[in-house]
């Protein structure tokens, strides 16, 4: 694939903005919470603006890697600071920017340890940005771990419901994942005999034998799959979502889970296409089980955040199914679903976060009648639920459509189950909407104020993104295609 070097280091600017924001916050006194929040918002806004610019400025006709920057880091080991974006990573950058920005705005009313919270959030997001743009395996692993470790503190300190248990569980799970990814990377780098961590070099066809690819792909699939909540490695996700504070849930479900799927795509499928082909039936099976299992398990949950956590399991199953089809449309659908689910779930968690902040409960049974007392907040929640059901003109519909079409050709039986889950998912989401938003206002809800205009802004941004890409999916698909068509085209079979 062609590599077009940037005349201005946009990608590094994103990272440096985060680092600068982090440093400024570290040197601000902890009492100046307003300043800290402003710095975070500006930092998030700048990263969003740059990722939006890249999204628009990417040259569709040329395709390939663009805005590339490459600096030798440890030449003796073949490690480079090497960043570039393509049609797969740009949607992820944009997603990260959106969720970061709206997440910071959502936490505007935070009072507990403000400085530490925003510092950790920015650190986490730096890792995520770095991972999505990096083309060097060493850096990818470093960024991966940078994005994982703040999570433990964020949940354990600012969380709720069994937060220590959840934080520990999540950390152990994700570390187990990285314990598989690191051997995978080292194995491939050694086997290549080229002493380079450069992804663009290693992905050349014929670098690895089929058996090497099968082993490495499996390591990557499980390692990243844990993060993508692949069934049966998904149980950390509902527990973690429930315990995490709002913005962390948003970033966690919105972006961090995408790292998992993106890792499978970028490392697994790019480096080991034969391994991908070999394991694809397993991927499809686990993904389908996840889709069905997620909605069924979600039906019985009594905690609002558990419900959303299980819906994420189901939606990430759609991503997995798309990746397993090994077709252009399946890949397109999967990447689009990563984006759509990220925005949708961010909206979900930010709506629930507001409800929790005001009512101090997430128990569905104690809520009810929110539409009466806080119509706007309830409206956001309902939009998120409709998006979760896959209603047309909201973004995830187009993702599910393409994934199901592609899957129906390759795995008809799985596709039937996955499509069948749509009916259950409607029941599952609407049941929650009915119990929380409809009915007469519950006692603890009746006197509460509606969401203020300031806090409505981040939610409104998320809604407009969902509607925009729901009405004009080609804005996203035309971009993803620039990566997926050449990628499928150069596969060895």
């Amino acid at each position: 694939m062609p590599i077009a070097y940037a005349n201005f280091p946009y990608l590094t600017t994103i990272l440096l903005t985060c680092v600068a924001g982090l440093l400024i916050i570290l040197f601000l006194p902890a009492e100046q919470t307003r300043q800290i929040k402003r710095v975070s918002a500006v930092c998030a806004g700048v990263t969003l603006a740059i990722s939006l610019y890249l999204f628009v400025a990417y040259d569709h006709a040329a395709g390939g890697w663009q805005f590339a920057e490459k600096v030798a880091w440890v030449p003796s080991l073949g490690i480079h600071y090497f960043n570039a974006v393509d049609g797969f990573s740009l949607p992820m950058l944009l997603l990260t920017g959106i969720v970061f920005f709206t997440g910071v705005l959502t936490m505007w009313e935070l009072e507990l340890r403000v400085k530490e919270f925003f510092a950790l959030i920015i650190l986490l997001v730096t890792g995520v940005f770095g991972l999505f743009m990096s083309l060097d395996l060493f850096f990818i692993f470093v960024w991966f771990d940078v994005s994982l470790f703040p999570m433990y503190l964020l949940i354990a300190v600012w969380g709720s419901t069994r937060k220590e248990y959840a934080a520990m569980k999540l950390t152990l799970y994700l570390l187990a994942g990285s314990a598989l990814i690191l051997p995978g990377i080292v194995y491939l780098v050694v086997k290549s005999g080229m002493f380079t961590f450069d992804l663009t070099v290693l992905m050349e066809p014929g670098t690895f034998t089929p058996s090497e690819q099968k082993l490495a792909f499996f390591l990557f699939y499980i390692g990243f799959g844990i993060l993508a909540a692949v069934w049966p490695f998904h149980t950390w996700s509902p527990v973690g979502h429930v315990a995490a504070p709002t913005a962390v849930s948003m970033i966690h479900a919105g972006v961090l889970m995408k790292i998992g799927a993106f890792g499978i795509l970028r490392l697994g499928m790019f480096l080991c296409p034969v391994g991908w082909q070999y394991w694809a039936p397993l991927m499809a099976l686990l993904a389908t089980v996840g889709i069905v299992y997620g909605v069924l398990a979600g039906l019985r949950q009594t905690d609002l955040k558990y419900v959303i956590g299980y819906s994420s399991v189901s939606h990430m199953g759609v991503v997995g199914l798309g990746l397993a089809t090994m077709t252009v449309s399946g890949l397109n659908g999967a990447v689009f679903q990563m984006f759509a689910h990220g925005v949708m779930t961010a909206l979900f968690f930010s709506s629930v976060g507001y409800i929790y902040d005001r009512t101090h409960t997430k128990a569905i049974a104690e809520l009810g009648g929110l539409s009466r007392s806080m119509p706007l907040a309830a409206g956001f929640f309902i939009v998120a639920a409709l998006a979760g059901i896959g209603v047309p003109c909201l973004a995830s519909f187009w993702a599910e459509l393409l994934v199901f079409i592609a899957a129906f050709k390759v795995y008809p039986v799985y596709a039937v189950f996955a499509v069948g889950a749509l009916a259950v998912s409607a029941l599952f989401m609407l049941r929650v909407v009915q119990r929380t938003c409809y009915g007469p206002p519950a006692e603890r809800v009746a006197q509460l104020p509606d969401i203020s205009p300031g806090l409505a802004v981040p939610r409104a941004i998320l809604v407009s993104v969902i509607v925009l890409f729901g009405l004009f999916p080609s804005l996203m698909y035309n971009l993803i295609q620039t990566a997926s068509i050449p990628f499928i085209g150069r596969l060895p079979w």
Binding site: K169, L172, P232, T235, P238, V239, Y293, L296, A297, L299, R300, Q301, T327, V328, S329, N332, G333, G369, S371, R372, L386, V391, P392, C393, F397, W398, L401, L402, F404, I405, A406, F408, K409, A415, V416, V419, G420, L422, A423, V424, A426, L427, L430, R431, Q434, C437, Y438, G439, P440, P473, S474, Y477, N478, Q481, S484, I485, I488
Partner: protein, 639 residues
């Protein structure tokens, strides 16, 4: 057959007809919710222009000989192309007119009916959404586009049925409607996928062109036809997915009028008409459709015979009439089915809007209570409802008579006389339950003193209230228009038939049987039904108890909707929640998490045990060192 390119006026008219309701919806939802009057004005202005555009199109293309269409690529992904556009042929032009006309009338009526409701703005927003989804569905050139708007119609009806969300029954009904239709849509979607994979195209004209059998084996066609029909079963509330429709009465009455006549449920039958040539490729599937239509028609008729709720009677009659349309279409009568869809849209909207006036005035849904409270004092609704009821019962010279006759003719043409018998039985039952309601409202039982307080006198509590008079006029105007249509539309049968088959004469190829006695038998049965209703409910001395209600178990069976709902409840509670969902939930808690927690505990416990090896006692450590060295020495000397 390919579609001809439209001229500028046509394109503009279609864009206006479909686009304006969307613009109204978007504006209302995004910005104007605080200004209800403006919202209503905007929504009605949009639907007025929409209706004018539809009428313009109908007039311009009355003599069309080839379908007109245009499409633009909306989304390209690999080899999959999603295009968006429009296709105008007689069926879609007719349907577009019906949809916009009924939406317009209902929105005007709602000005009176919904006045003062706190959700007034939201109501008009959802109405516009409904109008947008339905008009776009009607003009869809591909099945994919149709599916998109099909789902949106479902969303709009979910929002409107559950409009009064504080009532549990309303939110429950909205949810039920959405989930049940979604269940049908799963089959529909799978059917589309099957066609897409085997035939490679979801263009409606191509699917109907007749070369499908070259690409798909007959069994595959039958399978996909049956699956697609699943969507129709859900949307048109046919057996076995029929129970959501009577519950959907929880929405405001104008919504019911819209839902039952021209949108939502009509979409199902419209889809049947749209893919009629495709479905016809599979005789097996057509027979199944015929059976489902018949079962639904008869089941719903029996349910209508025992309910006291005025809206529920009309709801059951909708299911029954939709079943009748499906029978007509499945019997090969394209014109018959579409014609009945047309006439039904008119008189069913009329019936619901009349019912709405009664409910609005007396504050109850019970037909006997309305009768006791003096329902017949409301002259315009009473007369209009009787006209609509007579049309529903198939009495000449109203529109329902003509369309029912054409379907009867089709059924008579089938080799098996069973279908005609079922149709005639249905005609009798329909006339009976329809006039049961009319008599109950118009001829109240003589009041026994102290029996039950009247619910409210006509205009009770509003006496001379100018607002109320204005609302009454706003509501009465659409009734008069619809009653006029019901009176006149029957005579347009021949013209409509020629219009519908002008493009593709093959649609109505098989001639219907012309049995001279058939209309007389049908009228006779309908009159017998009316007579029976009069004997039981119309005479002053009658006991107001129907013949069905005298047999307790049967009445209960009918009233409980043949236990279909109980079955669903059982299935959901016992199978989905108690088995499947619990299995997954417990699987997570006990097996996956339980296993992991056990591993975690095992690790901690194991390391605690192993830590015995690291006691910090010098003697112990020395002992270990000597032992290990001793073992190593042995190993090297002996090995």
């Amino acid at each position: 057959m390919t579609a001809a390119t439209p001229d500028t006026v046509t394109t503009a008219a279609v864009l206006l007809a479909t686009g304006l309701p969307f613009a109204a919806f978007a504006l209302i939802m995004a910005a104007l919710r605080g200004r209800p009057r403006l919202c209503a004005g905007l929504s009605i202005a949009a639907i007025t222009v929409s209706l004018s555009a539809a009428l313009l199109l109908l007039v311009r293309h009355w003599h069309m000989t080839a379908p007109i269409g245009a499409a633009a690529q909306w989304l390209v992904s690999g080899r999959i192309t999603v295009s968006i556009g429009f296709l105008l042929d007689p069926t879609s032009l007719l349907m577009l007119t019906i949809v916009t006309a009924i939406s317009f009338l209902v929105q005007v009526y709602s000005l009176g009916y919904m006045a003062g409701d706190p959700g007034f703005a939201r109501y008009y927003g959802c109405m516009s959404l409904f109008a947008w989804a339905m008009t776009s569905l009607v003009v869809s050139p591909t099945m994919l586009q149709l599916y998109v708007f099909w789902e949106l119609v479902g969303v709009a009806s979910y929002l409107l049925i559950g409009f009064w969300y504080e009532k549990f029954s309303a939110s429950e009904a909205g949810k039920k409607a959405f989930v049940m239709t979604r269940t049908g849509d799963v089959a529909f979607f799978l059917g589309l996928l099957l066609v897409l994979v085997h035939f490679g195209n979801l263009d409606i004209l191509k699917m109907n062109a007749g070369d499908v059998p070259l690409h798909m084996p007959p069994a595959m066609i039958t399978l996909s036809a049956l699956l697609i029909f699943g969507g129709i079963v859900g949307k048109s509330a046919q057996f076995p997915l029929l129970t959501w429709l009577p519950d959907a009465m929880e929405g405001p009455t104008p919504v019911s009028a819209l839902l039952h006549s021209a949108t939502m449920v009509a979409a199902g039958v419209y889809l049947f008409a749209r893919l009629f040539p495709f479905f016809r490729l599979s005789p097996t599937a057509m027979t199944v459709f015929l059976a489902i239509g018949t079962i639904s028609m008869l089941l719903a008729s029996t349910m209508a015979m025992v309910t006291r709720d005025i809206k529920q009677v009309w709801a059951y009659s909708t299911i029954s009439q939709l079943g009748f349309m499906i029978m007509g279409l499945a019997a090969g009568g394209y014109v018959a089915g579409v014609f009945h869809l047309t006439t039904h849209a008119g008189f069913k909207a009329l019936l619901f809007l009349c019912a709405g006036v009664f409910i609005h005035t007396f504050g109850t849904n019970d037909m006997f209570a309305i009768g006791r409270a003096g329902g017949r004092a409301l002259k315009i609704p009473m007369i209009c409802m009787t006209i609509g009821a007579a049309a529903l019962a198939g009495l000449p010279p109203l529109s329902g008579f003509f369309s029912k006759e054409t379907i009867m003719g089709r059924l008579a043409g089938l080799s098996n006389p069973l279908w005609l018998g079922a149709g005639l039985l249905g005609a009798f039952l329909t006339a009976y339950y329809t006039f049961r309601l009319i008599f109950a409202v118009a001829v109240p039982a003589p009041e026994k003193s102290g029996d039950e307080a009247p619910v409210g006198a006509p205009h009770g509590g509003h006496g001379g209230d100018p607002h109320h008079d204005r609302h009454y006029r706003l509501m009465a105007a659409p009734l008069v228009v619809l009653a006029g249509v019901t009176l006149a539309l029957g005579w347009a049968h021949g013209a409509l038939g020629r219009f519908l088959t002008a493009v593709d004469p093959g649609l109505d190829a098989h001639p219907a049987a012309h049995l001279a006695w058939l209309p007389y038998v049908a009228i006779g049965l309908a009159l017998a039904g009316v007579l029976l209703a009069w004997v039981e409910f119309g005479r002053t001395a009658s006991a107001r108890i129907g013949f069905v209600e005298r047999v307790e178990p049967v009445a209960r069976l009918f009233a409980r909707r043949w236990y279909i709902d109980d079955f669903y409840r059982w299935f959901l509670d016992r199978v989905v929640y108690a088995r499947l969902s619990a299995f997954c939930d417990q699987g997570d808690r006990r097996v996956i998490d339980g296993g992991l927690d056990a591993v975690a505990r095992g690790t901690v416990g194991g390391s605690r045990r192993l830590s015995v090896l690291h006691l910090s006692m010098v003697q112990y450590k020395m002992m270990v060192i000597f032992a290990v060295m001793g073992l190593l020495t042995l190993y090297f000397f002996l090995g």
